[in-house]
């Protein structure tokens, strides 16, 4: 028992030392982990049902009863912002996961086979990357119709070339590395080299890119929902909530749009701080 305790304290001491040395990255992790926990515990924390309408308490300013005020149907903004963590994190992580998987598959195939396959794959990626990102996502979401899966697909597609190029270039560097050569020398198969040696070694930069992309994905998702192309009412998604409050800004009910937007800003900032910090860690020249 005592040994475990000693071990734990040593671990924690190490963690706090790391945090002190990288305060900005630690802050980013703190924000994302903290929000993640809030999102998971939303049913326990939220004082109201996020879908409950209360016509008698429409558009009330923030108070102790309603921390973030109420919306145009009397819905509790605080509860909806809490539940929104689940939706927006889900969309961001989903889009990045799909984009990452598809993109790195394309990149690795292109890098591994080279020649004509490489040429075709990368020209295809050039075409996708030729579109301004948000506009391509808008077109895809607009054509597929508004729903959460469609929104995730739309944003994922925009991400694909980023990962394809990144993983291809990493792959090419590593393929010609000495340890890959050594593995081949002792008779390892292609698949084994790919999975055991090349993949783990290209993960770090891809992971960094993913945290940055996660922030973008959440911003784009909220933007698309704001103009009615993403998540629909009454889902408590932050972009939709901002859109709902938009016409009330000129009449002074700022809280309807303000708090969901603040949640987006804090989340995206969290992801960007992690990404920025890790980039510095991986590339000491940037310090």
């Amino acid at each position: 028992m005592a040994e475990i305790a000693v071990h734990m304290t040593r671990r924690l001491a190490g963690l706090s030392k790391w945090c002190r040395r990288n305060p900005i990255t630690a802050l980013g992790f703190g924000i994302i982990v903290g929000l993640g926990i809030l999102g998971l515990l939303a049913p326990l924390i939220a004082p109201y049902d996020p879908y409950a309408l209360n016509p008698r308490e429409k558009m009330q300013a923030p108070s102790l009863n309603h921390l973030f005020g109420t919306g145009i149907f009397g819905e509790d903004i605080f509860s909806r912002v809490l539940y929104g963590i689940r939706i927006d994190f889900g969309i961001g992580l989903g889009a990045v996961a799909i984009g990452l998987f598809t993109g790195s598959t394309v990149g690795v195939i292109a890098g591994y086979y080279g020649g004509r396959i490489d040429e075709v794959c990368m020209r295809l990626m050039d075409i996708v990357a030729a579109f301004p990102g948000f506009i391509l996502a808008m077109a895809i979401a607009g054509v597929l119709g508004p729903s959460i899966p469609n929104l995730i697909i739309a944003i994922a597609v925009v991400n694909v070339p980023v990962y394809a190029r990144l993983s291809r270039s990493r792959f090419l560097v590593i393929r010609s590395s000495l340890y890959a050569l050594a593995a081949r020398g002792v008779g390892a198969s292609d698949v084994r080299i790919l999975a055991w040696h090349l993949l783990p070694n290209s993960l770090a930069p891809i992971f960094v890119q993913s945290t940055l992309q996660c922030g973008w994905a959440i911003l784009d998702a909220a933007g698309l929902s704001f103009i009615g192309l993403g998540v629909r009412l009454p889902t408590p998604e932050w972009g939709v909530m901002i859109g709902l409050g938009a016409p009330r800004i000129i009449t002074g009910q700022w809280w309807i749009s303000f708090f969901p937007g603040l949640a987006i800003a804090i989340t995206v900032m969290g992801f960007n701080l992690i990404g920025d910090g890790l980039q510095d860690l991986l590339d000491p020249r940037r310090k």
Partner: protein
């Protein structure tokens, strides 16, 4: 030089062709039956068949694509389902408002970001560096449409400094006579001070919001490339020759830091093309962004298709321009 430009343009053709395949596929294949959008749901089977035949929708898909490409090369993007006007005419008439907005946003962003980035690089680790980093972090994290709403609340509702969203100019004031299509320039040229005042008031908030978002990456890249330039051998040489610091920063370092900045400006402009859709909607700005929003809301596929093709072409051409500028500015690229 001419050969370089020609080669670069030739390389663009497959990319742009690919782009048309994507826009064509997106708007013709996926939404199912376009006939449903063109005729009333009550129309008889014969009417639907006749309209499909006339519109060429019964032909094989690749013939439809070729017909589409042939139209695009003639500048025929089809007719909008909603306005019944040729899409290209619609886009052209809405180009200037969007251009004016993004132009001023970009100029504002550059005017703020470049000095900030230089200062952050020269006085690294001081408060100004931290402020610039903080601004960069906030600038990219805040959704533009949300910043727009917050700005309207503060500057219109609380302070009454600027008007409520009203488009390019107050409805009470007739727009200036058309010379360039940019209200600011036209009202200046015609000496129409009343129109100028209203135009500037209307432009200030949306342009500043977009500029705020665009500033962050510009300031960061300026800082990074200035630091690199300031630590290079040629600045060390200049310093050892006893040149004044201002000359080292502005004449030697800045010149070398400008190339990455130009690329970043092009990237950021692409971002503005998307952001403007959101911002125009908040500010009732009668530009391309609002047009495409309406097109999506009413399933106006030719309009959507036209807009995407149009803005992607602009984006691609912008990068062509960047490449040409690189060759002009940096003799090392001239190969």
């Amino acid at each position: 030089m001419a050969a370089f430009v020609a080669r670069r343009i030739l390389l663009l053709i497959p990319v742009l062709l690919g782009v048309t395949v994507v826009t064509f596929t997106l708007t013709r294949v996926i939404p199912g039956n376009p006939i449903d959008l063109m005729v009333s749901p009550l129309a008889s089977e014969e009417t639907r068949e006749r309209i499909a035949e006339n519109a060429g929708l019964n032909d094989p898909i690749w013939i439809q694509y070729l017909r589409y490409i042939e139209g695009v090369t003639r500048g025929d993007f089809g007719d909008s389902f909603v306005t019944n006007q040729p899409v290209l005419d619609d886009l052209t008439s809405r180009f200037m408002p969007t251009f004016e907005l993004t132009l001023f946003a970009m100029l504002l962003a550059i005017a703020l970001a470049v000095p900030l980035g230089i200062a952050a690089a020269v006085w690294r680790g001081t408060w100004i560096d931290h402020v610039s980093r903080l601004l960069a972090v906030f600038g990219v994290a805040m959704p533009v449409f949300w910043v727009s709403l917050v700005a309207i609340y503060v500057f219109f509702f609380l302070l009454h400094w600027l008007p409520a969203p009203q488009g390019r100019i107050s409805v009470m004031i007739p727009p200036p006579d058309r010379i360039s299509g940019l209200y600011t320039i036209d009202s200046l040229l015609t000496g129409n001070w009343q129109a100028l005042k209203s135009t500037v008031q209307s432009l200030l908030m949306p342009a500043a919001v977009l500029a705020f978002a665009a500033m962050a990456p510009l300031a960061r890249i300026t800082r990074a490339s200035m630091i690199e330039a300031l630590e290079s051998d040629y600045t060390r040489a200049a310093r050892s020759l006893g040149l004044p610091e201002s000359s080292i920063v502005f004449r030697h370092a800045l010149r070398n830091a400008i190339l990455p900045l130009i690329t970043m400006i092009a990237i950021v402009y692409g971002y503005l093309l998307g952001g403007v859709v959101l911002v125009e909607n908040v500010f009732a700005w009668p530009g391309l962004g609002r047009y495409v929003y309406n097109a999506i809301a009413s399933s106006d596929y030719p309009a959507l298709q036209g807009f995407i093709l149009y803005s992607t072409t602009v984006y691609v051409l912008l990068f062509l321009l960047v490449d040409i500028l690189y060759v002009l500015l940096d003799p090392r690229v001239r190969l």
